[in-house]
Symmetry: C2
Subunit: 349 residues, 2 copies
């Protein structure tokens, strides 16, 4: 067995409940395979603001830095919803985490599960079989450029360096090599200079991956194609802001946000996080769907090199879907609680 140091940042709302189930599943994996997973916890988001005034306290950052990988639940509380210009906000914890740890690649697999297609807003034939992954650049672009006010206005600067583009491009090409060998760059190269740079760099890097077919699509067209024909995509590569929009759009086509995991990988550590938010109305009721977080833990196992273990987790998740051992967001007949979904999956390991 191996020894790994795993950070856990439960965060707000349903975050603590869903991360608890993911830890339960990780414990089952550790026990079966003789691994030692040591967990260290940290506060982030609204709960961290409440306790310390800071959405990302230094101790939490230290937990993440010391970890081989960490789980992140969710952040956000309704009391912050109405004032996006407030000085201290939960999201700042997330943005600072990404930047401080250099988590430059946000990886979001989108899988249309057959058993959930009846819940998709898209017609079944359009979405059945859709299976792709979005590589979103996460620490550059307009999110982190200089921003401020002028006398009669405001500005946000978007910058990208060659280096920032190249490093995520390589990851995306490698992902395509392990999948269906298609890479779609999403940009706005007919208008933006940064997008033209993305095109140039990614086109040049493509020469190193002759087995991958590179195409490019303008972001407005990509937003249409995502609905018209999501099956055309294999790996999507894009910059920070476009990735935010396109990956959120993509996340609803399969029928449930409750199953979508993500990874944010970088220089110093790697973070694993469900796509869904903190869903405060559902907190404390044992109704939150833990599958996205459990599947994020599976991505973490992959990242830690525990490939077989990751497969076992995914198989156990599929068993819970097949057996209808799911929360109320996925079924009207006999839903079970958050904890029982986790128990079922842990017992199936």
């Amino acid at each position: 067995g191996v020894k790994k140091n795993i950070g856990v940042l439960p965060g707000d709302g349903i975050g603590p409940e869903v991360t608890r189930e993911a830890v339960k599943v990780l414990n089952a994996i550790a026990e079966k395979h003789g691994h030692t997973f040591e967990y260290n916890y940290g506060d982030v988001g609204a709960i961290a603001i409440d306790k310390t005034g800071n959405p990302l306290p230094d101790e939490t950052l230290a937990v993440c830095e010391a970890s081989d990988a960490f789980l992140f639940g969710a952040i956000g509380h309704p009391k912050y919803d109405n004032d996006p210009s407030a000085k201290v906000r939960p999201e700042q914890g997330l943005l600072k985490l990404r930047k401080s740890l250099g988590l430059f690649a946000n990886v979001r697999p989108v899988t249309a599960y057959d058993s959930l297609l009846h819940m998709s807003p898209l017609k079944t034939e359009r979405v059945r079989g859709a299976d792709f992954v979005v590589y979103r650049e996460l620490t550059g672009g307009i999110y982190f450029g200089e921003k401020g006010r002028t006398e009669d206005g405001a500005y946000d600067n978007c910058t990208y360096s060659n280096y920032e583009i190249d490093r995520i491009a390589h990851l995306a090409f490698q992902a395509a090599q392990n999948r269906n060998k298609k890479l779609m760059l999403v940009d706005k190269a007919n208008v933006l200079e940064t997008s033209r740079l993305w095109r140039e760099r990614v086109t040049a890097i493509a020469k190193e991956y002759p087995d991958v077919a590179l195409e490019a699509m303008f972001v407005d067209n990509a937003a249409m194609q995502m609905i018209q024909n999501p099956k055309q995509f294999d790996v999507i590569l894009t910059e920070n802001m476009f990735g935010d929009i396109i990956s959120d759009e993509a996340s609803v086509i399969g029928g449930s946000l409750g199953l979508l995991p993500s990874a944010s990988v970088g220089e110093k550590s790697a973070m694993f996080e469900p796509i869904h938010g903190s869903y405060p109305q559902g907190a404390g009721k044992n109704i939150a769907n833990p599958l996205a977080t459990i599947l994020s833990a599976a991505m973490m196992l992959d990242h830690l090199g525990l490939i077989d273990e990751a497969i076992e987790v995914r198989q156990a998740v599929n068993a819970s879907l097949r057996n209808g051992m799911v929360t109320e967001d996925l079924t009207k007949e006999n839903p079970v609680g958050t904890d029982r979904v986790g128990d079922f999956i842990a017992n199936h390991i």
Copy 2:
């Protein structure tokens, strides 16, 4: 009758065919109501580059400036598709037109026609009855900010002034007053300073329109909601880049791009344009759907104060849909040619 000076910029691909039918319908309106419409033509896009080396020749700009309003077909040719960084491109004609004429508000109504819902990628019950309009700011933001290269990277600056925000906000509030009195501001105020300024300004202006309910949504969430529940929207207000993405996404939910018109209104003139592109593969075949351009002409009539005439055009379009007098993109049984759709509608005026 009134006398109006109408510019016509047919552009590329199917542009000339669809604008021809719109002019046919405008002529029928003029004849019936005793109006005098004088048409002046100008080249724009790839055809203008071919003829003059310039995607927007000065003569074309003069045609637009002298017009009370003008029709725009479409621009784009496949020979420009593979090099978005080419120095001369058709899109530049469009961007320069918007900026030179101060066409600051792009207005895109989205209507889900019952008879086309079988063609929508969305499940019928999700989209039936959807009816909203997007107000996209069109001459500011990252499209027109300073852009360039540095030694090892590139940048695009996004700026907005109070004035740029306020003038389109007023138009959007007024549109909401004439509709269902709901305005949704789409921004990314949790990250961008320009978005925070949009929130502040729009929230302040809302006080002048107490009958309109203002809400705000982050752009990533809006991209999801557009698919999950498009019926929730009435008027959407957003900045240039977000508007590009969200309005293109919105344009496919109804089942056909071929019916969606747009207006770009401004200080010196107003432009009316179908949402669809130049569709070069369909050019010269008499198969292009002219309805979006004819409905754009209806928006032009509204703009010129000819409200009853605009209604007549829309009624005639509905008659063509009811009678199956439509092009092959809308029906498999007995489609008719572009020219016959225009004839039918002109005869119904």
